[in-house]
């Protein structure tokens, strides 16, 4: 058990709040709709629901931080790095 489809389903409910909400309402139906085998559907229904919410929250925060970080000027970071390096080799 556990296939690419299983991992894809987990990725979806970790990232997509709507998919997660649908999964909470109808776990077996949502998992089955995603192409999981009956055994996989039963397995994913046993998910640690509290952990799922916390993990989803944590992943969302990471994605948000990454987006902000990408927006930061890379030039500023590079300049800081280079000036530190120059200071070190002087």
């Amino acid at each position: 058990m556990t296939t690419s489809a299983f991992e894809a389903f987990l990725a979806k409910i970790y990232v997509d709040p709507n998919a997660r909400a649908r999964f909470k309402v109808d776990p077996f139906g949502e998992a089955s709709h995603a192409g999981l085998s009956p055994d996989e559907c039963v397995a994913v229904m046993k998910i640690d629901w509290v952990g799922l919410d916390l993990a989803a929250r944590s992943f969302a925060k990471k994605r948000h931080t990454k987006t902000l970080s990408n927006r930061r000027s890379l030039r500023t970071r590079a300049q800081g790095f280079l000036s530190s390096l120059l200071g070190f080799f002087r």
Binding site: M1, V50, S84, L85
Partner: protein, 289 residues
């Protein structure tokens, strides 16, 4: 990699650059996040090469997603291979995690279902990674807030199986062991006894914070924004006592940076934990009358 002594280093972060250069005599090596430089400018990469020519540097990947039934992306492997060639680090490492599946980017390290199929997928991905990069990565255990459903193997057995199947060594993250033990109800010291300690080459230490779930329960989040807690230093002593090979310890800190002396104090404490563990390892067994 022919290391003859225990070493303690620090994760390279641009915000810490000046302080790191001021205290290099206290830092044995630097761990650089490889993904930060995959699309770096020529100047940035040149600066990294200059850094690695002066200080021992190791590369740490965070985005390959090797522990997956899905194949690792060739473009990402090529970026790692190119950076490895340019920097010539002492070693490189990645995580026992999946970070994308079915076209969905999770944005961080996620624990896959721990199954034999996943072990096979991870071994295939690692085989490709080793072939492309030309060097075996150290593989790191991750922290997870959710116990992955569909698992048929306990975490230590799953980690051990991937290391065995890929013939890779371990980057053992002790805060991740501590966090998972707290969050999922097992004994961290027993975990250490269930993994092949002879494969542990490097160690991460870090800190985290307790977060509260909707039902009022708390879990430990591995956020790298806090000081290393006492239990992690105790685990470090344990692994030093049980592993004869030299260990490379890296302190990870990703933000909320304290003054440099506070980070150096944690590096020093890691050295003391290693020494205490080594003393236990070499000390003759006491006879009990």
């Amino acid at each position: 990699m022919n290391i003859r002594r225990d070493r303690v280093g620090l994760g390279w972060r641009p915000d810490l650059a000046a302080s790191i250069f001021d205290h290099l005599e206290c830092i044995d090596l630097l761990e650089v996040i490889a993904d930060d430089f995959f699309d770096g400018s020529r100047h940035e990469r040149r600066a990294l090469r200059a850094l690695s020519s002066q200080v021992t540097v190791v590369l740490h990947g965070i985005g390959l997603g090797l522990a997956s039934c899905e194949s690792v992306q060739t473009t990402r492997l090529d970026k790692m291979a190119r950076l490895f060639d340019e920097v010539r680090p002492e070693f490189w490492s990645e995580h026992l995690a999946f970070v994308r599946a079915g076209g969905v980017e999770i944005g961080h390290l996620a624990a896959p279902p721990r199954t034999l199929q996943n072990v096979e997928g991870a071994a295939e991905n690692l085989c490709r990674a080793i072939s492309r990069v030309g060097s075996k990565p150290l593989m790191e255990n991750i922290a997870t807030l959710v116990d992955p459903p569909g698992s048929t193997l306990a975490e230590p057995a799953w980690v051990s199986a991937i290391l065995e199947a890929s013939d890779c060594d371990s980057l053992l993250d002790l805060h991740n062991v501590h966090a998972n033990a707290l969050n999922h109800g097992y004994d961290a010291t027993k975990y250490l006894k269930q993994i092949p300690s002879s494969r542990v080459r490097a160690i991460h230490i870090a800190g985290g914070k307790l977060i509260t779930a909707a039902d009022g329960t708390t879990r430990l989040l591995d956020d790298h924004l806090h000081d290393v807690p006492d239990p992690v230093f105790e685990l470090l002593e344990e692994i030093a006592a049980s592993s004869p090979q030299p260990l490379t310890v890296i302190l990870e800190r990703d933000g909320a940076y304290p003054p440099m002396p506070q980070l150096l104090a944690q590096i020093q404490r890691a050295r003391l934990s290693l020494e205490r563990g080594r003393a236990r390892h070499t000390a003759p067994e006491k006879c009990i009358a």
